[in-house]
Amino acid sequence: MKISVIITLKKDVLDPQGKVINQTLDGMGFEGVNDVRQGKYFEIDIKEDDKSKAESEVEEMCKKLLANLVIENYKIIRSQ
């Protein structure tokens, strides 16, 4: 089963890379951009076929390694 996870920075955490991307977009003529936040995306291929078991295992992975919960949130966005 393949599970997709996105990791995003928490609201209060400074994201200088997102800010630079925003400024660059503005310089390229995309003037309507209010804000850009950069994140990470993972595709995890897991042996478990049971969806809820697989998701809870990936959730453990997020808590223990993939995300640093001081600054980041994780979200399982797709399981197939």
């Binding site: 955490v13 890379q17 390694l65 640093n68 001081v70």
Partner: protein, 227 residues
């Protein structure tokens, strides 16, 4: 005094740390990250560098390596553990120290001499240190210290701030904050004061001909405190 320096794949300040520790009287052993047990140590040092190429987040992969279980047990039992630069990043990722080190505020790799004000004068690392400010060297891309509101309160309540970026005279303000660190934090201790993490490199300031001597002051003081 016995010390151990852990080498991870991508560590590059491990040899400098070995030279520094030996210069000031430690019997130092180099320990590979795949080792299970630590040699008998009075001090364990996690050196600077780019462990695992800074993949995922700086220090995150190294914090899960085999030797870190022993380092964590050693620290939990009151053993002295010091992390410098990438070593500091590994300590926060392992949960031995609170907070996290973010990318520098202006997205630049900073490599220069800076001054830090010594805030902590009670831990084994800085007790009896004669100078109020030290000139040390920083070289990092992710040194911007950050933690939650609850964590910073706890850090302040327990006097866990060890070093803050300052000018030569110990004045602490935004102009002397090289990387955007919260409250100018350059180094912190755990609650029990046996674990220290700091971004500046004392091992790069142990020779007046090459750089400076304030690292010598730190190491001399440290070994005397541990005796």
């Amino acid at each position: 005094m016995n010390s151990s320096v852990i080498t991870f794949p991508g560590s590059n300040c491990d040899r400098d740390m070995d030279v520094a520790l030996k210069k000031f009287g430690f019997k130092n052993k180099m320990v590979w990250h795949e080792d299970i047990e630590l040699p008998k140590s009075d001090l364990v040092v996690l050196p600077g560098g780019f462990s695992y190429g800074d993949y995922l987040r700086c220090g995150s992969v190294a914090s899960k390596s085999k030797i870190m279980k022993s380092v964590t047990n050693f620290a939990k039992g009151g053993g002295k553990v010091m992390g410098v630069c990438n070593g500091f990043q590994i300590l926060v990722e392992s949960g031995l120290l609170p907070g996290v080190l973010l990318r520098n505020k202006y997205l630049e790799f900073i490599c220069k001499n800076i001054f830090v004000k010594v805030i902590d004068k009670n831990s084994p690392y800085f007790k009896n240190i004669k100078k109020d400010t030290l000139e040390l060297h920083i070289a990092h891309n992710e040194g911007n210290y950050f933690c939650t509101k609850e964590q910073i309160k706890e850090i302040n309540d327990n006097n866990q701030v060890a070093l803050v970026y300052s000018d030569k005279n110990g004045s602490v303000d935004d102009a002397n904050n090289p990387n955007g660190s919260m409250k100018n934090i350059a180094g912190i201790l755990n609650k029990e004061k046996n674990v220290l993490g700091m971004m500046p490199h004392p091992e790069r300031m142990i020779d007046p001909t090459l750089s400076g001597e304030d690292g010598s002051i730190f190491f001399n003081n440290l070994i005397n405190n541990l005796k």
